[in-house]
Symmetry: C2
Subunit: 258 residues, 2 copies
């Protein structure tokens, strides 16, 4: 890529230097959400994992860094983000992931033969993770009609993304996603009949404050019921993360118990 200095991507260390992410200086930048999502994958995971809508690869790389036998496919449709994901993989600090992290240019919302033709085969993965983009419009106090339109879009988004996750994950395989609490109804509706054993972990900025995110795990084809895991509280005291949040963000401990 040819870029001016002000447009040059940044190379940011995650997991206390465990890997580096090359990402655009402006726009959506990976951080806390991607690290929490990666922390939802069980310790010792050694199968094939799809990072759906991977962006520059933050969550997928974080899984690769913590799970040395995992094989990761970063799935992204935006050429600019794919380019940054390529720079991420080419970065010398990430050389140890060579051969077990690959890129796939594909639109997660494709279905049926178009999806398979794009490289997302049926039951080809042991796990899928996703941090679907959300429409900030529905956060704002916008007029009802706009809010309804945004909601319909977002509802369709989870349906499409989870339809793909359901298709590409083998029976008994896993799913993890991170989303806003207000999406929970859409997510549970889209999971129905596809994934079970749903475990929801609310993420609260501080004790006593409403959750700002949910991290959700599920098992393809399971009939087991939904559970609500003990919440994660991000911040304790005046500054800094709680020990549990710190460990999850830095790849030292998974978010969910065994």
């Amino acid at each position: 890529m040819s870029v001016t200095e002000s447009e040059a991507p940044t190379a940011d260390a995650f997991h206390r230097g465990g890997f580096v992410l090359v990402q655009p200086r402006k726009g959506h930048r990976a951080g806390l959400d991607a690290m929490l999502l990666a922390a939802a994958v069980p310790d010792g995971f050694s199968g094939r994992l799809a990072d759906l809508g991977a962006g520059a690869g933050a969550a997928g790389l974080a899984v690769a860094a913590r799970c040395p036998e995992a094989r990761i496919v970063l799935v992204e449709r935006e050429p600019d983000m794919l380019a940054h994901a390529g720079l991420t993989l080419a970065h010398e600090a990430n050389a140890r992931f060579s051969g077990r992290v690959e890129l796939l240019a594909a639109d997660v919302t494709l279905a049926g033969r178009a999806r398979r033709d794009a490289g997302l085969d049926d039951a080809a993965f042991d796990f899928a993770i996703m941090n679907p983009p959300f429409n900030a419009a529905s956060d704002r106090a916008s007029p009802d009609a706009l809010r309804r339109a945004a909601h319909v879009m977002e509802s369709g988004l989870f349906e499409a993304w989870l339809r793909t996750a359901s298709a590409i994950v083998r029976p008994g395989g896993g799913l993890a996603l991170i989303a806003r609490p207000q999406s929970l109804g859409d997510i549970l509706a889209a999971l129905r009949g596809r994934f079970g054993a749903v475990a929801i972990l609310p993420v609260h900025p501080r004790a006593g404050e409403a959750a700002i995110r949910i991290v959700l795990r599920a098992v393809r084809g399971s009939r087991a019921g939904l559970t609500l895991a003990p919440p994660l509280v991000l911040h304790e005291g005046e500054s800094g993360f709680s020990p549990r949040a710190e460990a999850a963000i830095n790849g030292q401990a998974p978010l969910f118990g065994a």
Copy 2:
């Protein structure tokens, strides 16, 4: 009622003596769930509230005890439980509720004209609370076919109970329910298009253990998004309830913030 001594109902004090519940000695007995449900009603609530499936009246009485201007209708279809609810209202310890707590013999699952004819009029209430019976079969490790049947029954139960709640609560009025976490998907599906501003409060037996109940509040016709409230942890230390649980159970503080 004419009963032998071993079948005689018990008269149990709740809210540290604030009211007495007369209930059967055997079978389902009211307790923690009913008190937590009642604690989901805001402090100072002064409208008309339906306790759907009221049993012997535990939750409705608990609201009446904490909210001195609330008017309560205990809705129950089982003659035996209605008889106990009548004994509860007639108990001298409950004399102060006279004139603002009444019984209604009606099946919550009725719809349309049959519901209205049974005394559950459209938009006739400012609030509805419910602790729907759940089928213990779906808790056990039963064969898949039985589990599926139990799930279908339970899914239909929430649809029927929330259809009635939606019909009888005025726009802008409130709903509170207590249920098991595994019912969350059915509940959110049945709330859709009927109630918004859903707030979910997970109830954990201890910090670090999965939730055993959810207490859920919602607003009829609201378009506001779902929130996840800070959880309630019931037990702290070796014995006894946490201060927040103790206050909620004894009618000293509502469960949800203002």
